[in-house]
């Protein structure tokens, strides 16, 4: 994963609360190998009618080149499926701005270089009202925690740990390898003081 600090792109609103991961990608597509294009599944059942024809008035159909989404509360709630993030990324989305995110979705986003930017309900409403169904060029900066558009600058919230990971494109496995001695020491201690935490059939063997 390559890191990034700033991005300029087209933003549009997805004015729906509780966009859960089942809507971001319906379960029936999830046996697709990762080499496939998950972007085609993004919000599939909202985007396409039952005949598979695009619904022309759906936001990402109206603005197919969008790469910043403005969402409502509880975005990405529900299942842990990382495929929901793959669908967003493969579609070209770099950031989602919303008043709240499902915890696991937010963690999955960071792990895939997608920015989940937290912003108050009021500010999000202001942006959605300003966009008025249209798209507009937004600039966002992770280090400064700011988005800019028109003549406005609005700040968002992101933890330091998440910001560092996005900026550096860090992979936790590399990071954790540095702690291997501490991990091994912990394991040995745990086996000694609480032997029962290792499954009975294993310790018996």
């Amino acid at each position: 994963m390559t890191g990034w600090t700033e991005h300029r792109g087209l933003a549009a609103a997805l004015d729906i609360a509780n966009v859960d991961t089942d809507q971001l990608i319906p379960a029936r597509f999830m046996s697709t190998p990762r080499s496939g294009d998950y972007g085609q599944f993004l919000l599939h059942d909202l985007r396409f009618d039952r005949n598979g024809d695009p619904r022309p008035d759906f936001p990402i159909n109206r603005h197919p080149e969008v790469n910043i989404l403005i969402g409502r509360r509880n975005f990405g709630s529900g299942s842990s499926r990382e495929a929901a993030v793959y669908a967003l990324i493969d579609f070209g989305i770099r950031a989602v701005i919303a008043p709240s995110f499902g915890d696991i979705f937010a963690a999955n986003s960071i792990n895939n270089g997608l920015l989940p930017a937290l912003m108050s309900e009021r500010k999000v409403t202001d942006i959605i009202t300003w966009l008025d169904g249209d798209s507009a060029v937004f600039y966002l900066n992770i280090e400064k925690r700011k988005i800019m558009f028109d003549d406005q600058t609005i700040s968002f919230t992101l933890s330091d740990a998440s910001a560092q990971k996005l900026i550096n494109g860090w992979d936790d496995i590399d990071l954790t390898e540095h702690h291997r001695p501490a991990i091994m020491a912990y394991r040995a201690q745990r086996a000694k003081t609480q032997p029962w935490v290792f499954p009975a059939q294993e310790t018996a063997g």
Binding site: Q23, R28, I104, D160, P199, E202
Partner: protein, 464 residues
């Protein structure tokens, strides 16, 4: 002043980084077919997984419940898990294993889930295992790969939250109603960023099955963690399970487990109380678990609401094909489903069977037990016949219609009364309409063909 969360967290913390994240040791890692992305990710970096002895696989999400697998792609998902398990030398409860079942049902059943452990699984309902006083949470594929490679996980410590429930639950009201009641009250994101500890005498009186249902649904209120401090009920459940400690080791373990509770003066970031006596049987009417009301209520009217909430409610009512202001009990259903890691344990099946015995279902439906062992036990108790005599199908074990991945699904526009955990749009199949409720309430709906208050059916039964 420490909470149960504090104790479990510090017991697993190996390191804390400057940015405040903790590196935690993972005692149990449960994987399923959906973990394929993680294994694929890993294949390019490390040759073997760190702790095959602490990693357990199970076929559930794609497991067929009626005969053979529905498609070659689904069969491939199952095969991939089984071959990954073999390659990495970890135990896998495959399709023909008598220990197979839904991951959050078999963990506890096999004694893999114990008090004081940290349990991870690439499934959001991993919170279920917190019923044992464990730190249990769902993770995404990148995190699954990390646990496979290192047996650890980086995690920011959540805020603490306590939900205290006091008083007696009415007959016909159970853990499912309790969970939906607090989610309706606080919202589907009401517990976001928090670890919930369930407390109070009503929670203490719940069986392990009930506690698991309660903790299972924590994620539907936004919490990644749900916990109940272990007690005699927990120890009795754990004792004698295949992977649980035995003899003196068990006794030693129990001494430690008894310390796993919040101190009496512990403070929580969020402290909520509920009166059990006020909770009625609950059903959901909309497309989020927060859209839950007592079955005696009416469909909400968006006209009485304002702003984005009015729009959301109107959209949900439209998707669900309902009429604002109508009684919930006037909603006619097309089918029922009894299953999932929320409500497919033996106690759940008994509760549904108690309503269905000697009665007929007006609509078709599936009953899918949570594990092979539960299936065997239910059949020994004759529950399968109660279901089939009532006109429902007694099918195989798996996630089935909870997630509609294995081919079992609700047809477009059809309405299902379901014991599962998510009424999201399309969760049970494209354009499917899901109403969540307890197993007894699903049984009552099956009997009348409408959403129905189960309580009168209980009294009629008592009168016989």
């Amino acid at each position: 002043m420490t909470t149960l969360l504090d104790k479990l967290w510090s017991a697993h913390e190996i390191r804390r980084s400057e940015d405040g994240r903790s590196l935690l040791w993972v005692d149990r890692h449960l994987v399923h077919e959906g973990s394929n992305h993680a294994f694929a990710k890993l294949a390019t970096r490390v040759a073997s997984i760190a702790e095959p002895g602490l990693t357990f696989g199970v076929v559930d999400h794609y497991a067929p419940t009626r005969g053979t697998t529905a498609s070659p792609a689904i069969a491939q998902m199952i095969k991939t898990l089984e071959s990954n398990a073999k390659r990495h030398g970890m135990t896998c409860f495959g399709l023909n294993d008598p220990r197979q079942g839904i991951v959050h049902v078999i963990g506890p059943e096999q004694g893999l889930t114990l008090p004081g452990l940290l349990v991870n699984c690439g499934d959001s309902h991993t919170s279920t295992h917190g019923a044992f006083g464990a730190l249990a949470f769902g993770i995404g594929a990148t995190e699954v790969a990390h646990v496979l490679a290192t047996q650890t996980i980086w995690q920011s410590r959540p805020k603490s939250m306590r939900i205290t429930v006091s008083g007696n639950l009415q007959p016909g009201v159970g853990a499912k109603d309790l969970a939906l009641a607090w989610i309706a009250k606080l919202g589907a994101d009401g517990a976001q960023g928090h670890a919930i500890e369930y407390a109070g005498d009503s929670v203490r009186r719940l069986s392990m099955e009930g506690r698991m249902t309660l903790c299972n649904l924590s994620i539907e209120g936004g919490a990644r963690f749900g916990m109940v401090a272990p007690d005699e009920t927990t120890f009795a459940y754990v004792k004698g399970r295949p992977y649980a400690p035995s003899g003196q080791t068990f006794e030693r373990a129990q001494v430690y487990w008894e310390t796993l509770k919040s101190e009496t003066n512990a403070e929580f970031d969020l402290d909520i109380s509920l009166d059990a006596a006020e909770i009625a049987p609950i059903v959901t009417w909309g497309t989020s678990p927060e859209d839950a009301l007592p079955v005696t209520a009416t469909v909400p009217s968006p006209a009485n609401l304002s702003g984005t909430n009015a729009e959301r409610v109107a959209a949900a009512i439209d998707y669900m094909g309902l009429v604002p202001g109508r009684a919930l009990t006037e909603i006619q259903i097309d089918q029922v489903f009894i299953g999932s890691c929320t409500n497919a344990r033996i106690e759940d099946l008994r509760a549904a069977a108690a309503i269905l015995v000697g009665r007929h279902a007006k609509v078709p439906g599936l009953v899918s037990p949570g594990s092979q062992q539960i299936k065997v036990q239910a059949e020994a108790e004759g529950l399968d016949h109660i279901f089939t005599d009532a006109g429902l199908e007694w099918v195989g074990v798996g996630c089935s219609m909870c997630v509609a991945m294995n081919g079992d699904h609700v047809a477009p526009g059809k309405r299902c009364a379901s014991t599962t955990n998510r009424n999201f749009r399309g969760r049970q199949g494209r354009d499917a309409r899901t109403h969540l409720m307890s197993p007894a309430m699903v049984a009552a709906a099956a009997v009348t063909g409408y959403l129905t208050d189960v309580r009168p059916l209980l009294t009629e039964r008592n009168a016989i």
